[in-house]
Amino acid sequence: MPALEDVAKKIRESAKRLLAEGRAEVVVGYRRGTIPLTTAPFFARTAEECDQLVWSNFARINLANYLPGRKKVALVAKGCDARSAVGQVVENQIPRDELYVIGVPCTGMVDNALVAAKEPRPIREVVETTDDSFTLKGEGYSVEVRKEEVLRRNCRTCAHRTPKLADELAAPEVPGATPDDFADIKALASKTPAERLAHFKDLIKDCLRCYACRNACPLCYCPICFVDETRPQWLGKSNDPMDTLTFHLLRGLHCSGRCTSCGACETVCPVNIKVREFNRILELTVQKEWQYEPGLSWDQKPPLTMFQTDDAAEFIK
């Protein structure tokens, strides 16, 4: 159970060393958030700035999002983020030698919605010292929460918690969790089309189309996203349910074979939509059809950039 402060120290040391050696010009990591239960992305460019870097049970955002187009950058990355970073290199968003990965073996990050369900009173402060529990403090109360009980869904089924391809690790390796069995996705097959549609329409009924999920996703680096195209305009600007559904379907497709289940999209959604449901349908298909998982090697080819002449597609007659 490494103390968070020990991990942070290690991150700061590495960050300072990389800046001093000129290996990196900027270190992208986390600093304390301005409100409880959060961290914020932080770009450290000097030794003094490195002292603001932290490690936390709330380091949910995927910082690989900031890599495309950058030079000489060191990245603080959990298992999933490091895989996204590998994806960025594989997709030529950043050359391998411009990137240095400070990997942090991770035991999962906290889902704030679950915390709020457990503790409805206003939370003024969070005290965290280790990676297995933290203390919530508010007006006249203080309660301890075990992290295991409030983990994000994606973290509960994360098989790649240790960033194996990182250039160095800031904490001891940790074992992976049991991978997602996709039971709910497989169960869709026994429902009628109308039931499935009702399920998915209900899932996204509160979507504001703020596109925070897209903005937080490291895969969404297109200079012009299809949602912003105007000639022709593929998505109306109102909140028509079909436009919203189309957004989620196309977003899912664009991420297919690339998503590392980092959960950044779900984390930033202001209305707690389980955005990844669409990704998971496709993740299952990608694994089944092409036995592919993204971000596990520097030279893998994403499944949609290649083909086999005998790819099975019985439905095309």
Binding site: W234, T285, F307, T309, D311, F315
Partner: protein
């Protein structure tokens, strides 16, 4: 429902199915007139958003057809397309698009008879699904209510 005539948006590759439709025409092979054809240079050009757009604008069915694997005019366009279709097909079916509303086929420019047979089959299946009410945009539904 018997007098329901579906509108079906058909995306045909220029080098094969589009030719097959022509050949069926000049060979006087009769097929139903329910299609609005969009000619593609290759199935590799088919962006999934085209299909969503068709449904959103009220198409009752969508049919995508291109060259047989190995016969693509651009050598590999349809191999790439096939991977996209596998994902798209799985996704749309999983979220509740009736399987019969969306059809994929490979038809070469010589296969006028196959074209005729599949065209009939597609119309029959889309008819059985009934009008597309679930996947059209709200404003179109409003339009429908006004004329009804």
């Amino acid at each position: 429902m018997s007098d329901f005539e579906p509108k079906i948006v058909a995306f045909f590759c220029n080098w094969c199915t589009y030719g097959a439709a022509d050949l069926a025409g000049v060979s006087r092979l009769e097929y139903p007139p329910n299609f609005r054809v969009v000619r593609l240079p290759c199935t590799g050009r088919l962006n999934p958003k085209f299909i969503m757009e068709a449904f959103k604008r009220g198409a009752d069915g969508v049919w995508v057809s291109g060259c047989h694997p190995g016969d693509c005019h651009y050598i590999a366009g349809n191999y790439h397309a096939r991977r996209k279709f596998i994902l798209l097909h799985q996704l749309l079916e999983s979220i509740g698009v009736e399987p019969d509303r969306l059809r994929f086929s490979w038809i070469s420019s010589a296969e006028a008879n196959k074209f005729q047979a599949i065209a009939r089959d597609v119309v029959e299946h889309v008819k059985a699904c009934g009008p597309n009410l679930a996947f059209r945009k709200e404003e179109l539904k409003l339009g429908l209510a006004e004329v009804a």
